[in-house]
């Protein structure tokens, strides 16, 4: 019987471990002792009595835990929304080399897209095969580099420079899958099969959410840098839409270079300056992505009876840009409750 008591006490200790940190620190020891006393008082009634005590606790446990999380959350939020900004260590990249590395993805994309445009320049069916292949090779170059950088960043448990790379890599996979799916859709075919396509879409969504969750857990500033990575790839991919047939607007694709430079400068601002600089960088990214996409969508000259992709794409771009910092800020009270910060 005493072994059963010990098992129940250990199990109850596990349950008390799931209360908010502050509550746990203050009361868990006492609660476990009281639970033990309750079990001891039921020893005479045999196993049934012990199970009755445990059941009484289990029945009330979810409500009690949720109530404590609610009160803890309310306490943190009650300190005022501005305290969420004011508290916590400020985060920025001190080392210039690391900051440059964090700012590199948009430059890489911008330069390569612009170079591809210079190499091909004319409709694909009018240029020689080697020009076409060289142009495509240059355009595709950033993708494996960013993917590799993103993987290294993830394997290194996301060092400061790695947030933008990881964000870029994840969004790069999304864009790649989208492009391939669109090509297949032109022939009325799914990418793999209907079921697998749905599974792939869910997997990509989970990947994005996992990255956002992990970085938001570290703080809104880090999650914001991941979002800049998302926005870089999502925004830059719109240039490839301008060069696609039948538009062949290679002149617009040249803009990728200055746009990439400005994005890199905004990323630099984001990782080196204070919170005002970060907000300015996010706003700058948003405005620039919107302007670029509007210019490119205008060049498509879509017939008025076709649904415009402008609003959905702008919503997706803005969402990609804001998901990180918003998740970081909203999750901050929860993180404090759990960590007892």
């Amino acid at each position: 019987m005493s072994r059963m008591v010990e098992r129940f006490v250990r199990f109850y200790a596990f349950l008390t471990g799931l209360y908010p940190h502050a509550f746990r620190r203050e009361f868990a020891g006492e609660m476990q002792a009281v639970f033990r006393e309750r079990l001891a008082s039921e020893m005479d009634t045999g196993a049934r009595g012990l199970w009755r005590v445990l059941w009484g606790e289990l029945r009330d446990w979810p409500g009690a835990v949720l109530a404590e999380y609610w009160f803890a959350w309310r306490d943190v939020c009650g300190r005022g929304l501005m305290s969420l900004y004011a508290e916590g260590k400020s985060w920025k990249i001190e080392e210039r080399r690391e900051a440059l590395l964090a700012s590199l993805p948009p430059v890489l994309f911008g330069v390569c897209i612009a170079l591809e445009a210079l190499v091909i320049w004319e409709p694909w069916y009018t240029v020689t095969r080697w020009r076409l292949m060289t142009g495509f090779a240059i355009m595709m170059l950033p993708s494996p580099v960013i993917a590799l950088g993103g993987l290294i960043a993830i394997f290194k448990r996301l060092p400061a420079w790695g947030y933008s790379w990881a964000g870029g890599a994840v969004m790069g996979v999304v864009v790649l899958v989208k492009l391939l799916a669109e090509e297949r859709a032109d022939f009325g075919l799914p990418l793999l099969s209907t079921i697998l396509d749905i599974a792939l879409a869910i997997l990509l969504l989970v990947g994005i959410l996992a990255l956002v969750f992990v970085t938001a857990w570290r703080g809104w500033r880090q999650a914001g840098l991941t979002s800049l990575g998302f926005a870089t790839v999502a925004g830059m991919s719109s240039f490839s839409m301008a060069t696609a047939a039948p538009f062949n607007r290679y002149d617009l694709a040249l803009l990728a270079m200055p746009v990439g430079m400005v994005m890199a400068w905004l990323t630099w601002l984001y990782v080196r300056k204070g919170d005002a600089g970060r907000v300015a960088a996010i706003l700058g990214y948003g405005v620039m992505n919107a302007v670029v996409f509007l210019v490119i969508a205008n060049a498509w000259n879509l017939p008025p009876d076709r649904p415009s992709p402008v609003i959905p794409f702008l919503v997706a771009l803005t969402g990609a840009l804001l998901v990180g910092p918003v998740a970081g800020l909203l999750g901050r009270p929860l993180r404090k409750v759990i960590q007892g910060a």
Partner: protein, 111 residues
């Protein structure tokens, strides 16, 4: 004081249990069960959630239980002056309700 009233049944019984003197968690739990004739059976989680709130509101206070040293440091809980006033206010509120009912009850059916 009245903005805190009426008290929930669990809080009322916890405060009532502490009225004669300080008690530790397990004793409060058993006492509440006895006082309520087994109608209110607090789980450990519910009891300590309520105790936390009462401590924050200043209705009870915590003290080390010197009488019985065990492996853990046992804490006892005692009613503060504020907690006693709240309990008295609740008793007065209930008394007034009963008095009102007695006034309104038809002749011969006094409560």
């Amino acid at each position: 004081m009245n903005e805190n009233l009426p008290l929930s049944e669990a809080v009322f019984f916890i405060l009532l249990s502490l009225l004669p003197g300080p008690k530790h968690g397990y004793a409060i739990m058993k006492d509440v069960e006895t006082l309520s004739e087994a109608r209110v059976c607090l789980s450990t989680g519910t009891l300590y959630g309520a105790l936390k709130r009462l401590l924050e509101d200043g209705w009870i206070e915590r003290m080390d239980d010197d009488g019985e040293q065990t492996a853990r440091q046992r804490k006892a809980y005692a009613l503060t002056r504020l907690g006693k006033s709240v309990l008295e206010a609740e008793a007065t509120r209930m008394k007034n309700l009963v008095a009102l009912m007695q006034q309104r009850a038809p002749e011969g059916n006094a409560i």
